[in-house]
């Protein structure tokens, strides 16, 4: 079975690299994007079958909300976790993604991993039920 693939969209290299290395150690294939534009390229070019996207709602420019809205149209099967500090945006996030924005930054790597595992397990149960 091929590795599950997580795409991290995060502008801070130190945060992004630390989380990416942790998830690789956990057994995931991890792609890294600096921003939404890079994420769209990776998703649109089918570079790898991406299972989960983790995006920052506080990112400058096109933020995680805009990316999630695009993904709902372009690749609705890919799960999304939005992360950030905008707790008032919870209702908006609920329309766009399965998780978030409940992840604060800096990320607790174990909590991020728990979110990913839970999301993938839910998706797997849904696919098996179809």
């Amino acid at each position: 079975m091929s590795l599950r693939c997580v795409l991290i969209v995060e502008p801070d290299i130190i945060i992004r690299h630390g989380l990416a290395e942790y998830l690789r150690e956990c057994g995931y294939r991890v792609l890294e994007a600096l921003d939404a534009a890079e994420a769209r390229q990776l998703l649109a070019n089918k570079f790898a079958p991406i299972d989960v996207v983790l995006a920052d709602v506080d990112a400058p420019g096109e933020n995680g909300f805009a990316l999630a809205a695009w993904m709902r149209r372009a690749c609705p099967d890919v799960a999304i976790i939005l992360a950030g500090s905008l707790t008032t945006a919870a209702a908006r996030a609920g329309d766009l993604c399965e998780e978030g924005p409940t992840l604060g930054k800096p990320y607790d790597h174990r909590i991020v991993h728990d979110h990913i595992k839970r999301l993938l397990a839910t998706r797997d149960r849904g696919m098996n039920a179809d």
Partner: protein
């Protein structure tokens, strides 16, 4: 297959800082280097690479595109890295480089380059750096 970076069992994994603004190229290079056993730090521009080093991140080899957006190109980044981490080998890649810029690097790859050739250049320079 034994990854190149793990051939000596106790040797720490070499850290390769890959700086490339074209994400599809960056991911392809990073994937190949990880499969060869290296730790890869991905940066999209020179400023990101500098932020990583300033944050205390270690680098054993710089693999950078020459032409990038922002105020610093790959040759200038090579000089900056060498000032902060003397002895770090540098590979520059470009489809459009002059002799002076090529001369800054320990190895130069003309774009589009072969990924296997790129991984081989990394291994060769790291082996030479170890003496």
């Amino acid at each position: 297959m034994v990854p190149a970076a793990h051939e000596a069992s106790q040797r720490p994994v070499a850290r390769i800082l890959v700086v490339e603004d074209e994400v599809l190229i960056r991911v392809e290079v990073a994937d190949a280097l990880r499969q060869a056993g290296y730790e890869v730090i991905e940066a999209g521009c020179a400023a990101e690479a500098q932020a990583y080093v300033r944050g205390g991140g270690g680098v054993d080899l710089l693999f950078s595109d020459l032409r990038m957006p922002g105020g610093m190109n790959g040759a200038q980044l090579a000089g900056w890295i060498r000032a902060h981490a003397p002895g770090v080998p540098v590979i520059l890649a470009s489809g459009d480089a002059g002799p002076a810029e090529i001369g800054v690097a320990d190895a130069f790859l003309a774009k589009p380059y072969d990924i296997g050739q790129a991984v081989g250049s990394v291994a060769r320079l790291l082996a030479a750096a170890e003496g």
